[in-house]
């Protein structure tokens, strides 16, 4: 019996060692540099929270993540709902479409958005054909949001669909047969039951959006940088390891706080479902 418990535990070791050296050690060294480079103390954090420009970066990061989440929710909610009422073939198509971004490389999709969003790109031409625009999309926050929503949609649609497929739609017929207007029935009966999916999807998208680097760097304007771009510049361009580290600690802290929130939400809804 003893052999059975000690043996399997040893199998975990190689992976743990790899994680220790190439994941934990890097994170710790970032943490250490935030507090020690160029001199020990809280100087880097004082610099970060003291400069108005940094606060603008932080605010812009939050507002981008917020808009990405909101737009993704607005597009994904009807889409996930359609998945639950579709026939088997239509459902297969809808599922396939939402999974395509999963296996299309991030770099490829971002490059495609660079083309699509150009001032003379397809989107502006299409808008021009119906008498609108041209709008500047590339190098703006709007462009960044459009690109990021497309990249993150699967993370919104899938949890929404998971929850929605468990909702008994006969409740809707019951409400309407009792005289409720279909819209009112939907808002009062269906929407509240789908909220666990909404919060899980929103938090997942928001968390991912906070740390995005490639898409904002290529679609956004260099003067409107987000926090991950600033970290990149501090370390790679200016060799300010401490400042970059401090910003990294702030970004990591925010991310972990969001994940804790997600865990609490999931646990609470889990309890509601089971009991």
């Amino acid at each position: 019996m003893k052999e059975r418990t000690a043996g399997p535990a040893l199998l975990i070791l190689p992976a743990l060692i790899a994680l220790g050296v190439f994941f934990l050690y890097p994170l710790l060294s970032m943490l250490v540099s935030a507090f020690t480079d160029p001199e020990p103390g809280l100087g880097n954090f004082a610099w970060f929270f003291g400069e108005q420009a940094n606060m603008q970066v932080l605010g812009r990061t939050f507002s981008t993540a917020f808009w990405v989440t909101l737009v993704a929710l607005a597009l994904s909610y009807p889409y996930a709902y359609a998945m639950t009422i579709a026939g088997p073939r239509a459902k297969a198509v809808l599922t396939l479409l939402v999974l395509v971004p999963f296996w299309t490389s991030l770099m490829v999709r971002t490059f495609a958005w660079v083309i699509l969003l150009q001032d003379t790109g397809v989107i502006n031409k299409a808008l021009g054909a119906i008498g609108m625009g041209p709008f500047s999309l590339i190098r703006t926050q709007t462009g960044v949001v459009i690109g990021m929503v497309q990249l993150l949609m699967p993370f919104m649609v899938l949890p929404l669909y998971a929850v929605m497929s468990g909702i008994d739609r006969r409740l809707l017929s019951a409400a309407t047969s009792l005289g409720a207007h279909p819209v009112k029935a939907f808002l009062q009966v269906y929407v509240p039951q789908s909220l666990p999916g909404v919060s899980a999807g929103c938090l997942t998208v928001f968390i991912s959006a906070l740390g995005f680097y490639v898409t904002p760097a290529l679609l956004g304007s260099p003067t409107d940088a987000l926090i991950s771009q600033q970290i990149f510049t501090q370390v790679n361009g200016l060799l300010k390891w401490g400042r970059g580290g401090a910003m990294g600690v702030v970004l990591l802290g925010l991310t972990l706080a969001m994940i804790a929130l997600l865990a609490v939400t999931l646990r609470r809804t889990g309890r509601k479902v089971t009991g």
Partner: protein, 260 residues
């Protein structure tokens, strides 16, 4: 009924929007002009010729394939072993071990990238094959551990006991009973490991050197500097490669489930 029509129209639009980027890149790679104008006016294969004739693109492709294959092997072996341990060991701190294995999925790329860069400067791993492989392996591990753990949880351990009672050694029982049954999980983990490495940009941007770059890093540098359709040719080949991998994997899983 009208509401339903609207819903389907809306979903069609979203569907187009989801696949549009991939569909733009392919025709663009066949343009005959040195510009990224879409739709192209004429067609040619000159950008593919350019890609295969340019040592910088070819070496980036070679590095990417080499790194991704090595990551697939290392991450699949480490991840499968870890999944076995996590599902079978009865030790304290198991939940913690499991949690930490999945942690690379949630840490923002840039945060891990600057830390990795600092450590790699110290260990002299910047711009080395080993450096790329280890940095990507850590990111790929969760994608192996999750599917393998899932298929091990659905595995009836009494089958192993049966094999052992018929005289098989533990290794034989594992190889000829357990492994074939959890193979779909291992295969999908291996596939995800390959794609994770082949796709990785942020950490790679920091640990690259002018002499050793991966394909996404080369693409990133090209997008920021030039408007050269060779990037579109590179992107098309990435799309074809990953789509083929996914189709092959789907085909294998479908055939296995039908065989049962």
């Amino acid at each position: 009924m009208r509401a339903r029509g609207l819903l389907w129209a809306f979903c069609t639009l979203i569907g187009v929007w989801l696949v549009a980027p991939a569909l733009i890149v392919v025709p663009l790679s066949f343009t005959d002009k040195p510009s990224l104008k879409f739709p192209p006016d004429g067609y040619s294969t000159r950008w593919y010729a350019n890609f295969f004739g340019d040592p910088a693109w070819m070496s980036a492709l070679g590095t990417s394939v080499q790194v991704a294959l090595l990551v697939t092997v290392v991450a699949t072996v480490l991840g499968t072993a870890a999944a076995l341990g996590l599902t079978r060991a009865k030790i304290r701190g198991l939940a913690l071990a499991q949690g930490s294995m999945l942690a690379p999925m949630i840490v923002p790329g840039v945060v891990l990238a600057i830390g990795t860069y600092a450590v790699f400067l110290k260990l002299q791993l910047v711009g080395t094959l080993a450096g790329f492989v280890m940095a990507h392996t850590v990111l790929a591990l969760p994608f192996v551990i999750i599917p393998v753990t899932a298929s091990l949880r659905g595995f009836d351990r009494r089958l192993e006991d049966a094999a052992a009672s018929l005289g098989a050694s533990r290794w034989t029982a594992f190889r000829s009973v357990t492994l074939p049954l959890v193979a779909p999980g291992v295969a999908s983990g291996a596939l995800f490991a390959f794609v994770t490495s082949f796709d990785e940009v942020v950490v790679s941007l920091f640990i690259q050197s002018p002499y050793l770059q991966t394909l996404p890093v080369k693409m990133y540098a090209s997008v920021t500097r030039e408007t050269d359709p060779t990037i579109a040719a590179a992107a098309t080949m990435i799309i074809v490669l990953t789509t083929t991998l996914v189709l092959v994997a789907t085909f294998f899983v479908a055939r296995r489930t039908r065989a049962k």
